[in-house]
Symmetry: C2
Subunit: 221 residues, 2 copies
DNA sequence: GAAAGCTAGGTGACAAAGTCACATACAAAA
DNA sequence: TTTTGTATGTGACTTTGTCACCTAGCTTTC
């Protein structure tokens, strides 16, 4: 159950609600509930039966796979107004959740029980379209990841990651371990590549910190 | 345009049509057309703007990525009654096709122009559901591939492939190059692994032919 | 049926990436 | 200041991919 105060904040974060018809909005306020999920908390674990779908109105969730050796690889992230489409997928096909999702930055989420979610997909065009778009975006992005890990070299992938992040902050705060978990590699490999980058004057690095010095040089990998 | 003779064969291969309402069936017969696509023919190339969606009623299409070095990796296959959901994805998001699809076994396909397809997704629940299910299946299977290439060893992956295929035919007819293209590896690597399997008595292999001798042994990898 | 050509597969040297078992190094807490 | 925990460094080794070239067997063609 969502009260008036909450309703405003939620509809600001969820564009679908603004375009939705009155009937859907009413139902939404009746059955949805707000949840606050602290950072580090697992939203779904591989193999979970899914009970509710979460629509984020703040924070960031990271969806990843983890191998037997403990190595990780990030599949994608989602944040404001987006939803974990894998949850939707799991709900609709009544399968289990095929990856792990953890909260990276404390999140507020609107939770919608699985049965109701399934019903809405049937009844509301807009809702279905929302789910459809997300699903289709994820398919494209996961296919792009297959391409990356199958064909691109590690140094080029690390360089790409640094360049993508450096737009937000430079020097950027990230550990070698985090980079490894992002790309599905191991810390040692990342350390060696970064050392090489340092020697070539492309970056300068300290504990939990990497400063990009030569964007052009990184881009040419 | 589909005539009566064709209509029967088509509806046998496409379960959706049997469950579809009369209106959809009529439209279908009016705008769809049959195409025969010979083996080896590319259906869609990476980056193509998609003009029509193909529903297969016979044959098999393989969807794969190809890297700069020429290495390939299979994302999935589709056949009887299925459709290349990537085409649908490309049509709906009006993007380009993100992989290559080639006919592996001569195929007959019902072609539906992109604009009409898009319209049907909006108007027919059943049609939308069909697309939705396929999309969601593919997302799961492509995610499983990410897991494989990121975390599993090559010998285990080759063993899995052999075990999967041997259920259909044993000795199976496949070249080392084909296995490599399936798994995103290179021929040399596959040759070496197979040689190792041979020495351990797990398989026996000749030109374009591999006989599995010890399923249990392969499974334990 | 011998020569030529094509395709499948073999080989060795090397480079790139992942693993393992430790060794430091730095920062915050006690 | 000592302790504790986290981040990073190192060397030896394995696995995987690359390159350049070789060999074997089957097919076509004259």
């Amino acid at each position: 159950m969502i009260d008036q105060n909450q309703a405003k904040r939620i509809s600001l974060a969820l564009p679908i609600l603004q375009r939705a018809d009155a009937q859907l909005v009413r139902e939404f306020q009746r059955v949805a509930y707000l949840a606050r999920i602290p950072a580090g908390h697992d939203v779904f674990l591989e193999g979970d039966q899914v009970g509710a779908i979460a629509l984020l109105i703040s924070g960031i969730v990271r969806v990843y796979k983890i191998g037997e050796t403990g190595r990780e690889i990030t599949l994608y992230r989602f944040g404001n107004g987006q939803s974990c489409i894998l949850t939707a997928n799991a709900i609709l096909s009544k399968k289990t959740f095929p990856a792990i999702a953890t909260v990276e930055k404390e999140a507020e989420a609107v939770m919608i029980p699985a049965a109701i979610f399934r019903d809405w997909v049937v009844r509301y065009d807009m809702w279905r379209e929302f789910v459809f778009d997300l699903l289709s975006q994820r398919l494209s992005s996961v296919m792009a990841i297959v391409d990356e890990i199958a064909f691109r070299r590690m140094d080029a992938r690390v360089a790409s990651l640094l360049l993508a992040r450096v737009r937000m902050q430079n020097p950027l705060r990230i550990t070698h371990q985090e980079i490894a978990a992002e790309l599905g590699s191991s810390r040692e490999v990342i350390s060696r590549l970064l050392e090489d980058f340092s020697e070539r004057g492309l970056i300068r690095s300290g504990r939990s910190e990497i400063e990009v010095l030569d964007k052009g040089g990184l881009a040419s990998l």
